[in-house]
């Protein structure tokens, strides 16, 4: 048993035993709330993909109690949406009505256009006499404008079974963010008992449905469960999201034609993936294939511009990639020019993104691009490191081949492009690895720090998903320190590494520098875990290198 909060275990256990984890979690979140609007808009409201004059608005309606997520029940339902300048909706600037129904699981997604750039708005939905909670959002600055800064919350890897989403709650309490960047693993596919809290995989909260999600109804129910988490609901209601997926939105270690966690008895993989993508399109405030409409394409890689200051290119590194190599121990296939992590079209698109006449080229990058050799990691800790990072074989293979390290030709082409074109201020923003990193991106890692860096990579830790001390069962900042030291010794471009903590990051971009503040939360099993600033790293414009900063940006 780990240092799990006993009361929470008891509460979760009770919920699981009752077979109604979803309802229990929901009632815990809003103990006194039984108003009709809560029943109609159970999954809250959300916004996303802010453009200078448009933002995607999202909700789901439950017109009658039997129309539960994934049920396929219910009739066509009209929903009105409103965008206002004020919280009281006296100055409504845009509104409309649309119809949803069982074909889209009664989700509602609208691209609210005709808005003013760089402006905060309130929005809400009305259906069947009920009014939704009021959400707040913000449009992006005009393309030719010169914003003083861009500030984003940055998160990834939120496993509901592993704990409470305190990271989301603390970000929701901030008023200084322009948007929240979610770098993937927004939800997990596992059944209860398969992947939870710490060494013993205790489910702080069990997943619904109580199986691995495979069918469309499973994916819809799981999305609904996550959106009923009060902390995630609060964050969605407070700030627009900019999302990409990693693997767990479909299933673990996904690649173009399969996944580690997909077995033949679960059916055709392509069908499963299409199902997962459909549910994602329905349930997330994102433009796929350029539109807020569902069912018209699932291209997720896209650009978002913030004046002359920054452009954010969001990547999809799961849909087009070749299979991970099976034996990572120096398998020459990791260097095979015919293998790809991005796919040809997306790599060309990314190279075009980086030559845009915008100062900061931000890349929403689901898995790490910095080369990392784990060769010096002590043998006894290889297993736990593997559990955190993915695929490290027990015989000490030095690379995580689920990252760009497993597809070196794409990375070589991309970093070569940066060098050949004289590009600066390229910042990769990354999740996936359940740990916090700040790295330079050397053209030649072997000789670094002699030689140039192509840019930097800033990696946020997990919201809840296990990392090293969770798996070793050792106290924080003990065993992990030797792993971190070993990694930094043989990877001199890795300037900061924290393998133990969970939390979130805040990214602040100004013309002078881009800074990431790393915040850590207390125990994931604690519903009310506090948040503490732990480190800040920045890259001054033009340097392509990270350096420590003594304090976080203010406004928290």
């Amino acid at each position: 048993m780990t240092n799990l909060d006993r009361r929470t275990v008891l509460a979760s256990g009770a919920a699981g035993a009752a077979g109604a984890g979803l309802a229990v979690v929901s009632s815990r979140a809003r103990p006194a709330a039984a108003a009709p609007s809560d029943q109609v808009f159970r999954q809250g409201v959300a916004s996303g993909d802010p453009l200078p004059q448009a933002v995607v608005l999202w909700t789901r309606v439950t017109p009658t109690p039997d129309v539960t997520p994934g049920s396929g029940l219910g009739r066509a339902t009209k929903v009105r949406w409103e965008v206002a300048e004020d919280a009281g909706f006296r100055r409504v600037v845009r509104s409309g009505t649309l119809t949803t129904g069982p074909e889209s699981d009664h989700t509602v997604k609208v691209d609210a256009t005709g808005l003013a750039p760089d402006t905060a708005y309130h929005y809400r939905f009305v259906s069947g006499g009920s009014t939704s909670p009021v959400g707040r959002t913000r449009t992006a600055p005009a393309e030719t404008s010169t914003p003083a800064n861009l500030r984003l919350g940055v998160v990834s890897c939120a496993n509901l079974q592993a704990g409470w989403f305190s990271a989301y709650r603390h970000l929701a309490a901030r008023d200084d963010l322009h948007a929240v960047l979610h770098l993937g693993d927004y939800l997990y596919e596992y059944a209860p008992g398969e992947y939870g809290y710490g060494r013993s995989n205790v489910d702080v909260r069990p997943h619904d449905p109580p199986t691995e999600m495979v069918q469309l109804a499973d994916y819809r129910r799981r999305h609904a469960q996550y959106k009923q988490d009060p902390d995630l609901q609060a964050l969605h209601a407070r700030h627009p999201f900019i999302v990409t997926w990693d693997d767990h939105e479909v299933t673990n270690d996904a690649w173009r034609d399969g996944a580690e966690n997909h077995q033949p008895e679960e059916g055709d993989y392509a069908t499963r993936r299409a199902t997962a993508h459909r549910a994602y399109d329905e349930w997330m405030p994102v433009r796929m294939s350029g539109t807020a409409a569902t069912g018209d394409g699932t291209q997720l890689f896209r650009r978002l511009r913030f004046g002359t200051l920054a452009e954010l290119s969001m990547l999809d590194l799961r849909t087009y990639r070749d299979q991970q190599v099976a034996t990572p121990l120096m398998d020459p296939a990791i260097d095979d020019p015919d293998r790809t992590i991005t796919g040809r079209a997306q790599l060309d698109w990314l190279k075009d993104s980086l030559v845009a006449p915008v100062q900061w080229k931000l890349v929403g990058n689901p898995v790490m691009i910095a080369p990392v050799t784990f060769a010096q990691v002590p043998k006894d800790l290889i297993g736990p490191v593997d559990d955190v990072t993915g695929i490290l074989p027990r015989d000490g293979a030095p690379y995580n081949v689920d990252q760009w390290d497993g597809y070196t030709d794409d990375r070589r082409e991309l970093l070569g492009h940066i060098r050949d074109r004289g590009l600066r201020d390229v910042v990769f923003l990354t999740g996936d690895i359940h740990s916090a990193w700040a790295c330079d991106l050397p053209h030649d890692p072997a000789t670094y720090p002699v030689g140039d860096s192509a840019g930097v990579e800033l990696v946020c830790t997990s919201v809840t998903s296990n990392n090293l001390d969770d798996i070793t069962g050792t106290p924080p900042r003990t065993a992990s320190l030797s792993v971190e030291a070993a990694i930094q010794t043989s990877n001199r471009h890795v300037r900061y590494l924290n393998f133990d903590d969970h939390g979130y990051s805040v990214l602040d971009v100004t013309p002078a520098r881009t800074q990431m503040d790393f915040y850590v939360i207390g125990d994931r099993a604690d519903r009310n875990a506090t948040s503490t600033w732990t480190a800040s790293w920045a890259t001054r414009s033009g340097t392509n290198k990270v350096e420590p900063v003594g304090r976080p940006v203010t406004g928290a």
Partner: protein, 437 residues
């Protein structure tokens, strides 16, 4: 590349003619280092009118990379940048060479309008590959002439002979560096700054345009460059920084600082290649049946300009063939038709195909020994430059960075805005980098 093509009549010879024939008068003054500084002045020029107390100085750190302007290496330049308005996203313009980018600074227009696209071109009329170092090569008025027309005075302190040549006698006052220029064709920065300070003290022009060539000169020849060590280069950066500091100190000591803006930028940056990383296109072209004997190449270090000299009716086919052959050659990043590619705007003088090399490579044409130097520019890898405005004039924002892209063509519009001048005919291609209003 700076020194590879042959010159015809030297620029300094033409300058001497100006003095001999009385078109310019010569004044010799004692410089700060004790050496004599020779400054010529256009005939009929009057002392600076009292129209404005504003002064502007443009210091070009030739070939400096933006990541080299750091506090330990270049503390004075870094302090000037950090105390003023910095443009961290700043770029040289094609072709990323010295002469075209200096011309772009002073004209504010791209080479298809200014007439100066590269250091080295094939002059079809003369049938020779030559430097663009003649005053007549610039085909539009520069901001130097604009200031003159407005009754303001200007000065050029140019350390490189071909820059001295191309700007000719456009400035009211001109440093005559030929007594001190060594065989490299560049005056050392110490001498250049002696001249700049002396010119300010003696003539107090409203605008002085200064090129400091040591960083570029040393960078070209730094054999440790390909190893990423750049030992000689770093020494040059530190030495040049001292000269920047001297200039700032002189402005402050003479009381001019509060009336001044100091624009510091580079014309291009620098990239290093190993001797085995060279692209040699002449034999590739000459081996082709269509092209053999009908392609002339003007080598600009990181950019090769290819000229079709055969039947004009066959140009389209020849261009397609040149692009195909060059694109297949290792080390080539891209081969572009300037008539098709909208980004180049190099105009007809830059040839029929512009070829860029990858980072870590260089061209050597027409012969395999034509370009032996490790440091080169002209290719996109060498676009990043420092670009900032310091100075004590209240128009300069303090400690501000701006996200907009700044370019070499922005210097003239910035100066025009500062002095309240209008745009030339056809407008500027660049934009003022000072805050509006």
């Amino acid at each position: 590349m700076c020194n590879q093509t042959k010159r015809t009549t030297t620029a300094f010879t033409r300058g001497l003619d100006d003095l001999r024939t009385g078109r310019r008068s010569l004044l010799k003054v004692a410089g700060a280092g004790g050496a004599t500084v020779a400054i010529s002045t256009a005939l009929g020029a009057r002392p600076a009118a009292a129209a404005t107390t504003r002064r502007a100085y443009v210091l070009v750190l030739d070939g400096c990379r933006p990541d080299e302007v750091t506090a330990p290496l270049m503390p004075r330049a870094a302090a000037l940048r950090d105390g003023g308005l910095n443009h961290p996203f700043a770029s040289s313009m094609p072709v990323m060479e010295t002469i075209p980018n200096h011309v772009m600074m002073m004209t504010g227009v791209r080479p298809d309008r200014s007439g100066v696209p590269a250091n080295s071109i094939y002059d079809r009329a003369e049938g020779v590959v030559r430097d663009m170092d003649r005053p007549s090569d610039i085909r539009v008025p520069t901001v130097l002439e604009q200031l003159g027309a407005a009754g303001l005075t200007t000065g050029t302190v140019l350390s490189k002979e071909y820059l001295y040549g191309v700007f000719g006698d456009r400035a009211t006052h001109r440093w005559e560096p030929f007594p001190v220029v060594p065989v490299s064709g560049h005056a050392p920065d110490q001498a250049t700054m002696d001249a700049a300070v002396a010119m300010v003290e003696q003539h107090d022009p409203h605008l002085v345009f200064v090129n400091l060539g040591d960083v570029d000169r040393v960078g070209h020849s730094d054999v440790t460059g390909p190893l990423s060590l750049r030992l000689a280069r770093q020494a040059a950066l530190a030495a040049t920084d001292l000269q920047v500091g001297r200039f700032v100190d002189a402005l402050k000591a003479s009381g001019r600082w509060a009336d001044s803006i100091v624009i510091v930028l580079a014309d291009h940056s620098m990239d290093w290649s190993r001797p085995d990383s060279v692209v040699h296109l002449q034999p590739v072209m000459d081996a082709d049946p269509l092209l053999a004997g009908n392609v002339v190449i003007a080598d600009n270090g990181g950019a090769d300009l290819l000229y079709w000299t055969g039947d004009p009716a066959s140009r389209a086919a020849a261009v397609a063939r040149m692009i195909a052959l060059a694109s297949e050659t290792p080390g080539v990043l891209e081969a572009l038709d300037p008539l098709v590619d909208p980004t180049l705007r190099t105009g007809p003088l830059a040839g029929d195909v512009v070829v860029h090399c990858r980072a870590g490579w260089r061209f050597t044409d027409p012969d395999v020994w034509s370009n032996p130097i490790p440091g080169n520019h002209g290719h996109p890898a060498t676009r990043p430059i420092p670009w900032f405005i310091g100075g004590g004039h209240p128009v300069v924002p303090r400690g501000v960075s701006a996200s907009e892209q700044a370019r070499t063509i922005d210097v003239a519009p910035t100066l025009a805005a500062y002095f309240g001048l209008g745009a030339p005919e056809g407008g500027y291609d660049g934009s003022s980098r000072l805050p509006a209003g």
